[in-house]
């Protein structure tokens, strides 16, 4: 039995590939439920303030949102490529793709920064006196909280990839032991998927 083999490993230097991956998946469940609370609020308040939500969404720039979606999906691709490169022993390629992932993630944040500051200059922020109707207040609060928390996850991802990059460079993450890179990738795909839901909910349906 494979479980028997896993159990027999000395606890001090044990390494369990399937266990580490299972732990990561469980962590991703918690992330889904964390954002789930926000999606629940979105659903309730959208049904309560349908007209105001539709109206407020027209203020958002679909082109900028679409560009960011493209950037994030591409970063998921480079993430996946870095893993398959490392698995086939091409450490140089893997490092390159990891660096590209960090660059795309940063580009996403830069675009987000300009989007947010543009909103601020139009007098739109949580609690702004220029927001008149209740539905509008709630819509923009949801917009800032949801994209803000998502952005925070992107920042955490960048930090994680910087560490993973350094570890790959020092061969701590290598062809035979790539679970940290793979788990980092799982996290990154989750951040990506949450955006895939945020984009239509906030920008597209009007």
């Amino acid at each position: 039995m494979e479980r028997a083999a896993a159990a027999d490993i000395n606890a001090a230097n044990h390494r369990d590939y399937a266990g580490a991956k299972l732990g990561m998946w469980i962590f991703l469940f918690t992330e889904l439920l964390f954002f789930g609370g926000l999606f629940l609020l979105y659903a309730v308040y959208r049904s309560k303030y349908l007209a105001e939500f539709q109206n407020a969404a027209t203020e958002l720039n679909i082109t900028i949102g679409a560009i960011n979606t493209l950037i994030l999906i591409t970063s998921s691709l480079t993430m996946a490529l870095s893993l398959s490169a490392l698995k086939s022993g091409k450490k140089g390629h893997s490092l390159l793709f990891q660096a590209l992932t960090i660059i795309f993630a940063s580009a996403f944040l830069v675009v987000k920064y300009f989007e947010w500051t543009a909103k601020f200059s139009h007098g739109i922020w949580p609690g702004s006196p220029e927001l008149t109707s209740q539905g509008e207040i709630i819509f923009y609060s949801l917009y800032f909280v949801m994209t803000g928390l998502h952005g925070l996850h992107v920042i955490i991802g960048i930090v994680a990839f910087a560490i993973i990059l350094a570890m790959t460079n020092k061969n701590i993450i290598n062809e035979g032991d790539y679970i940290k890179l793979e788990n980092g990738g799982l996290y990154w795909h989750l951040v990506d998927i949450i955006w895939i839901y945020l984009f239509p909910l906030i920008y597209l349906i009007q």
Partner: protein
């Protein structure tokens, strides 16, 4: 301590206090948690003692109304988040889960240590509210808006503490689920796993799947107070009832985080002291899992008076009745296990019997709460206070003490004075009932909870209740004294003091560093007894 040369207590990488707070050994982390949760339990007891003292007479007795508000809020936060949620799971669970499934440690030992550190950091944040300007939080541990948005006390800081301790709880759950999936000994199939690990498995899933909802809820409360996002503020289009929904989507399953491991402990103790195998092993496993699952569907019963459609109230009421069924199954199985058994009334068994008695009262009054019409009459009265103290303290609390007396010789390698332990248990049981039973009557007569004052006709019941709190505290102090004294002067304990059949009793007391010299091979179901035992 102990006779073994190479046990977990005398072997380690560091010396002194560092050997504990930097250890990744699940047994040392379990002891760290045990000491921490017991300290918070005693702090919570002091706050409860002060509340009861204030209520010994109508009008202001020893504290002001605002201080009283902070007392019950801190009592709730400390007892819920720092004693009873991590309580059995993180202390005894950490210590015994790997041993009982035949593993050397949990799946992620360093993450395990991080959980404890997050727990301690959260505790420091929570206690800092007492000293920060603004004062300790008021308005109750449930942080209900709109009051929690308006209050000028340190509610954001307390909410941040709940966020951090939630993280700790999630990591423990994640660790335990992975451990159970990956590290069971050869031959330990799912249906060969002892019942305490089973309840830890169900509890861990609830911790994983419910706690993130609390995290986002308290985070939004903090944002509401700092930025005014308006989700829970009617003036801005938000709805305070949405907070209640999100809060109870976590906090009702959290009730099962508290009680399931307690049921696991009782399922371990009853067969050992009845000298029989457990009755209805499969039924107990299935009821454990179904409590965890159905427990997600009952949160609305906290909100019957908050504003909800009749259909929703009927559905939540139905599921609340339904979730009582698996709990009832467990009680019947424990009693059937004792039937025709050779029962030994050692301290752990005495505490376990008290658990069954008190938990049954708590559970049956829970059914009274879950019928909508009755609920509207007793909502926010002392009936509710009494009900959840019977379930949480009489249930989980007494199970915690049962576990403490059951596993103490294994953890410390020392034996305590059994007579003194039983005397302490009986005093606690008597004090507990004198303290909480009058509160059922007070609540039924309409005395609301969370007031520092009451009309004169409630005086008798309150005086009896306060006297009960003194008896209960006397029992607790005697128990703590007995256990502490035995650390220094207790006799060395045998490896299998109680004649237990599970794996922790097959190794030395205290256990060796990596639990097993050789990983055991499991060839049958748990709790089997050889004829001579």
């Amino acid at each position: 301590m102990g006779g073994q040369d190479n046990n977990y207590l005398n072997t380690g990488k560091y010396q002194g206090i560092l050997s504990w707070i930097l250890s990744t050994d699940h047994k040392r982390i379990g002891v760290l948690y045990l000491v921490s949760v017991l300290s918070f339990f005693l702090s919570g007891v002091i706050l409860g003692f002060l509340m009861r003292l204030e209520l010994i007479a109508p009008g202001q007795t020893i504290v002001t109304a605002q201080t009283y508000n902070s007392l019950f809020t801190l009592h709730g936060i400390i007892m819920i988040f720092f004693f009873i949620i991590p309580g059995i799971t993180a202390s005894f669970g950490n210590f015994f889960l790997p041993i009982m499934i035949g593993a050397r440690d949990v799946a992620f030992p360093r993450l395990n240590l991080l959980s404890w550190w997050l727990y301690i950091i959260a505790a420091v944040i929570a206690l800092s509210t007492i000293f920060l300007p603004g004062g300790p939080p008021d308005g109750g541990w449930t942080f209900y808006p709109p009051y929690s948005i308006k209050s000028t006390t340190n509610i954001s800081v307390a909410a941040a503490a709940a966020f951090v301790v939630g993280f700790s709880s999630i990591l423990t759950g994640l660790n335990f689920v992975t451990t159970i999936h990956r590290l069971r000994a050869p031959g330990m199939k799912w249906m060969r796993m002892p019942l305490f690990p089973w309840t830890l498995y169900a509890t861990s899933w609830v911790q994983i799947l419910a706690t993130p909802v609390l995290a986002i809820t308290v985070l939004l409360l903090i944002l509401e107070r700092s930025l005014g996002i308006g989700f829970f503020d009617p003036a801005k289009g938000g709805d305070p009832i949405m907070f209640q929904h999100l809060f109870w989507i976590y906090s009702h399953p959290a009730v099962y985080i508290m009680i399931l491991p307690a049921m696991g402990v009782i399922s371990e103790i009853i067969p050992v002291f009845s000298r029989k195998s457990i009755f209805g092993y499969k039924a107990i496993v299935i009821s454990t899992l179904s409590i965890a699952a159905v427990g997600y569907l009952v949160w609305g019963h906290h909100m019957f008076t908050s504003g909800m459609s009749d259909t929703a109230r009927m559905i939540f009421s139905f599921f609340t009745f339904f979730v009582a069924v698996p709990s009832g199954i467990k009680v019947f199985n424990w009693i059937s296990t004792m039937y025709k058994g050779s029962i030994s009334l050692a301290p752990p068994m005495v505490f376990a019997l008290f658990f069954i008695f008190l938990f049954s009262i708590g559970g049956l009054t829970g059914l009274a709460n879950s019928s909508v019409a009755v609920n509207i009459h007793i909502h926010d009265t002392y009936f509710i206070v009494s009900h959840f103290h019977y379930v949480m303290f009489g249930g989980t609390g007494f199970a915690f003490f049962a576990a403490l007396h059951y596993w103490y010789p294994k953890i410390c390698g020392k034996m305590y004075n059994e007579t003194l332990a039983t005397v302490a248990g009986v005093i606690m049981f008597v004090g507990f009932n004198i303290l909480y039973f009058p509160q059922f009557l007070l609540g039924w007569q309409g005395m609301p909870r969370r007031y520092y004052d009451y009309p004169a006709e409630f005086t008798t019941g309150n005086v009896i209740s306060t006297v009960g709190s003194w008896i209960l505290i006397a029992g607790i102090l005697l128990m703590v004294f007995n256990l502490l004294r035995s650390l220094f002067s207790g006799k060395t304990a045998d490896n299998n003091v109680w004649g237990g059949t599970t794996l922790e009793w097959q190794i030395s007391s205290p256990p060796p560093v990596e639990n097993f010299h050789e990983i055991p091979v499991i060839d049958g179901p748990p709790y089997r007894r050889k004829p001579e035992q």
